[in-house]
C-alpha cells in the first residue's frame, strides 16, 4: 500500500456568526494515500468545501478551525507557522475551483497567472514563463503563446478551466483538491476537463480529492468515496463496493436517484422528505435519523465510523438488517 499523504483527524470548522459559534464541520477524519484519487461527496452545506479549505488554511473571515489534526507528508499542518504553510500551498497542495471566470484575476494575463504559482515559490521570471507555456500545452490549450498573453475574459469557460488547471499543476503538486471544477461548465466540456485531470493524475502520480455533489461523475474518476452528511463523514468506501452495496442509508438514497443525472439535491431527498439539518440545529444522536427509513432506537446514540466489510460506516444498522429497502 502506498504511504499516507494526507491524514485528517477530527477536523472541525465553526462559524463565529451572530449568536455564537455554529459547528459546520463536526469532526471529520479520513486518510488519502500517495497517488490515490478520492471523492468527497455531499450536498451543498454538508461542509465538504470548508473541510478542504480548512486543510489548506484558507478559511475566510468568520470561520475558524478550533480542533483537529492535519498531517501532510508526515508534517502537522496546524502547528506550522503561516510562512511555512504558504510554501506548501501551490507547490505541494494545489486547489482548483468551481467557477473559472471568478477564480482567475481578470486584470492579469493568463500566462502570468500560471507563472505566478512558480514565482511565488522561488522560480525566476523567465524560467517560470517558459514552464508556464509548457504547462499550457500540457493541458491542451491550442495556441499557448496567444493564450499566455491574453486575459481570462477573452476565453470560454472550458479554456479558462484548463488555464486554472495549468495554474495548479505547473508546480507538480503531490495533492490536487478539485472543488467541483466542472459544475459551471457545459456537459460536453465537463467530460473533456475530467478526462484531462484524470490523465494528469495518472501521468504525474498525483493524489486527488474531488469535491462534488454528483455521484455519477465520480464513478469513473476515483478509487474511493467519502460521503458527507451534516458536517460528518458517514461512509468511507472503495468505489465499486459503494455503488454495489452502500452501507449507509443516506448513500443508498443518493444512489437511488442516479438515473436522473445531474444535481441530486432535490431528487432523492424528496423521496425521503425533509432537509438536512442546519448547522447548530443538528439532532441528538445520528444526524440522519429523522429522515432515515432504517432508524431504530439505537440511533439516538451518535454513531462513529465503524468498519463494515471493506468500508467505514457511521451507522448502527448493518445493510443486511435493512428493512423497507
Amino acid at each position: 500500500m502506498e504511504p499516507s499523504l494526507l491524514k485528517v483527524t477530527d477536523l472541525r470548522v465553526v462559524s463565529s456568526g451572530r449568536g455564537g459559534g455554529q459547528e459546520i464541520v463536526r469532526g471529520v477524519s479520513f486518510e488519502v494515500r500517495e497517488g490515490e484519487s478520492v471523492a468527497l461527496v455531499g450536498e451543498s452545506g454538508s461542509g465538504k468545501s470548508l473541510t478542504m479549505l480548512a486543510v489548506m488554511g484558507l478559511l475566510g473571515p468568520g470561520l475558524s478551525s478550533p480542533t483537529g489534526e492535519v498531517r501532510f507528508g508526515g508534517r502537522e499542518l496546524r502547528e506550522m507557522p503561516e510562512g511555512e504553510l504558504r510554501q506548501l500551498r501551490g507547490a505541494e497542495i494545489a486547489m482548483i475551483y468551481q467557477d473559472p471566470m471568478t477564480s482567475l484575476n481578470p486584470m492579469m494575463r493568463i500566462g502570468d497567472q500560471v507563472a505566478e504559482t512558480l514565482t511565488a515559490h522561488g522560480t525566476g521570471g523567465a524560467e517560470a514563463a517558459r514552464r508556464a507555456r509548457k504547462e499550457l500545452v500540457k493541458v491542451g490549450i491550442p495556441d499557448p503563446d496567444r493564450t499566455a498573453r491574453a486575459y481570462p475574459h477573452e476565453f470560454s469557460g472550458g479554456m479558462r478551466q484548463r488555464a486554472m488547471i495549468a495554474t495548479a499543476l505547473v508546480t507538480g503538486p503531490r495533492l490536487l483538491i478539485a472543488d467541483e471544477p466542472t459544475t459551471a461548465l457545459d456537459v460536453t466540456i465537463q467530460q473533456q476537463i475530467l478526462a484531462l485531470v484524470r490523465e494528469r493524475q495518472r501521468s504525474d502520480r498525483m493524489a486527488t480529492i474531488w469535491i462534488t455533489h454528483d455521484l455519477g461523475v465520480v464513478a469513473q474518476l476515483v478509487t474511493r468515496v467519502l460521503v458527507m452528511y451534516a458536517g460528518r463523514i458517514v461512509e468511507d468506501a472503495p468505489v465499486r463496493e459503494l455503488f454495489a452495496a452502500p452501507q449507509h442509508p443516506y448513500t443508498a438514497a443518493l444512489l437511488a436517484s442516479l438515473p436522473h443525472a445531474g444535481d441530486l439535491v432535490r431528487a432523492p431527498l424528496a423521496q425521503i422528505g425533509g432537509v438536512p439539518p442546519a448547522p447548530g440545529s443538528v439532532p441528538l444522536g445520528c444526524s440522519f435519523r429523522p429522515r432515515c427509513p432504517q432508524a431504530v432506537e439505537k440511533c439516538l446514540e451518535d454513531p462513529t465510523l465503524m468498519p463494515r466489510h471493506s468500508s467505514l460506516v457511521a451507522c448502527w444498522v448493518p445493510r443486511e438488517e435493512w428493512t423497507r429497502c
Binding site: 500551498r89 471568478t102 505566478e116 511565488a120
Partner: protein, 314 residues
C-alpha cells in the same frame, strides 16, 4: 467612444446655455451702465468687442448665439478695469490652477489610498475607525479654516509667508513656486483624500472577498503580492475614477484656497470678477471651468476603459 464624445458635446452646449441664462438674470441696464461709466480704460475697438460679446439690444436667443460665436472665435470679453482680454487673463490663470490641482490630487491620492488600505486591512477594527475618522474630519473641516489657520500661524509665528511675494511660475523660480503651492496643495489634498479613502476602502473590501483572491492565496502567493497584484490592481478602477473626478472638481473648487493664499488662479479670477462686477470675466471664466470639467470627466472615462482589459475590447 463617438457616442461619449457626442454626449460630452451636448453637455457642453447645455453648460453654455446655463451659464448664459444664469447671468442674464442680471438686469441688462447694469451691464450697459458698467460699459458707460467704467469703460474709460478701453479703446473704442475694445469697447465694440465687449459690446459684441454681450450682444445687447438683441432678442435673447440671438444674444446667446452671438455670444457663443464670440466665444468660439476667441473673444471672451474684456476686463473693464484692466483692459485685458479674458482670454489673456485665463491663459495666465488656468495654468496656476492646473498646477495646484495636480499637486493637490497627487497628495490626496497617496494619502487617500494609504488611509483606505489601512482601514480595509481590518474592517470594523480600531484601525478602521481611525482611518475613517480621519477621513470624516478631512471632509468636515472646511478648507478655509485649515487654510486660514495655516496662513495666520506661519505668517505671524514664523514670519513665513511665501505667498506674500508675487506668484512665481515654475519656469521662472521653481523653488519659490513650490513653496507658494505647497501649503495650498496640502489643504486641498485633504479634501481630495476623504472621498478617495472611502472609495479605496470599499473597493478593497469588496475585491478582497472575490474568488480569485482566494485562488492567489491557494497558490501560495505572499500576502504582499496578493494585496498589490490582485486586490489593489482590481480595486484601482473605481479609485482612479474617483481621483480623476476630484481633480476635475478642483479646477473650479479651489477658489477659496486660491483666495486665501493669494494665488492668481482661475477660481480667483471668477471671484474677483464677481466682487468687481466684471460680468464678462465671470461669464467666460465659468464657462471655461465647466468645459474643462466636462473634458476631465471624459478623459477619466477613457482612462478607466484603458485600465480595465475587459472593456478595452470595446
Amino acid at each position: 467612444m463617438a457616442r461619449r464624445l457626442a454626449g460630452a458635446l451636448l453637455t457642453l452646449v447645455g453648460v453654455s446655455l446655463l451659464v448664459f441664462l444664469v447671468l442674464r438674470v442680471i438686469p441688462g441696464n447694469q451691464i450697459t451702465a458698467s460699459l458707460g461709466t467704467e469703460s474709460g480704460v478701453l479703446t473704442p475697438e475694445q469697447l465694440a468687442s465687449l459690446k459684441s460679446y454681450y450682444g445687447l439690444n438683441q432678442p435673447l436667443p440671438l444674444q446667446y448665439l452671438d455670444w457663443l460665436a464670440n466665444v468660439c472665435t476667441g473673444n471672451l470679453g474684456l476686463s473693464l478695469r484692466s483692459g485685458q482680454s479674458v482670454s489673456a487673463m485665463t491663459g495666465a490663470s488656468l495654468p496656476v490652477t492646473l498646477e495646484l490641482a495636480l499637486l493637490a490630487t497627487g497628495f490626496g491620492f497617496v494619502l487617500g489610498v494609504g488611509l483606505g488600505m489601512l482601514s480595509a486591512s481590518k474592517p470594523n477594527s480600531v484601525r478602521d475607525a481611525l482611518g475613517q475618522g480621519v477621513g470624516l474630519l478631512a471632509l468636515a473641516i472646511p478648507s478655509f479654516v485649515i487654510a486660514s489657520a495655516l496662513v495666520s500661524y506661519l505668517a505671524a509665528k514664523f514670519g513665513y509667508f511665501p505667498n506674500a511675494l508675487p506668484y512665481a511660475p515654475p519656469w521662472e523660480d521653481p523653488l519659490l513656486n513650490i513653496q507658494q503651492l505647497m501649503f495650498p496643495a496640502l489643504v486641498l489634498g485633504f479634501g481630495v483624500a476623504a472621498p478617495v479613502m472611502r472609495t479605496t476602502r470599499s473597493a478593497i473590501i469588496e475585491v478582497s472577498s472575490l474568488d480569485f483572491v482566494r485562488t492567489a492565496r491557494g497558490k501560495g502567493v505572499s500576502p504582499r503580492q496578493v494585496a498589490f497584484r490582485h486586490i489593489l490592481r482590481n480595486a484601482m478602477i473605481p479609485i482612479v475614477t474617483a481621483t480623476g473626478i476630484q481633480f476635475g472638481y478642483l479646477l473650479g473648487g479651489a477658489v477659496i484656497v486660491e483666495q486665501i493664499f493669494a494665488l492668481p488662479g482661475i477660481g480667483r479670477q471668477v471671484l474677483n470678477g464677481i466682487l468687481q462686477r466684471e460680468y464678462a470675466v465671470v461669464q467666460s471664466s465659468v464657462l471655461i471651468i465647466a468645459a474643462a470639467f466636462v473634458v476631465v470627466n471624459l478623459l477619466v472615462d477613457v482612462l478607466y476603459r484603458r485600465i480595465d482589459p475587459r472593456v478595452r475590447a470595446d
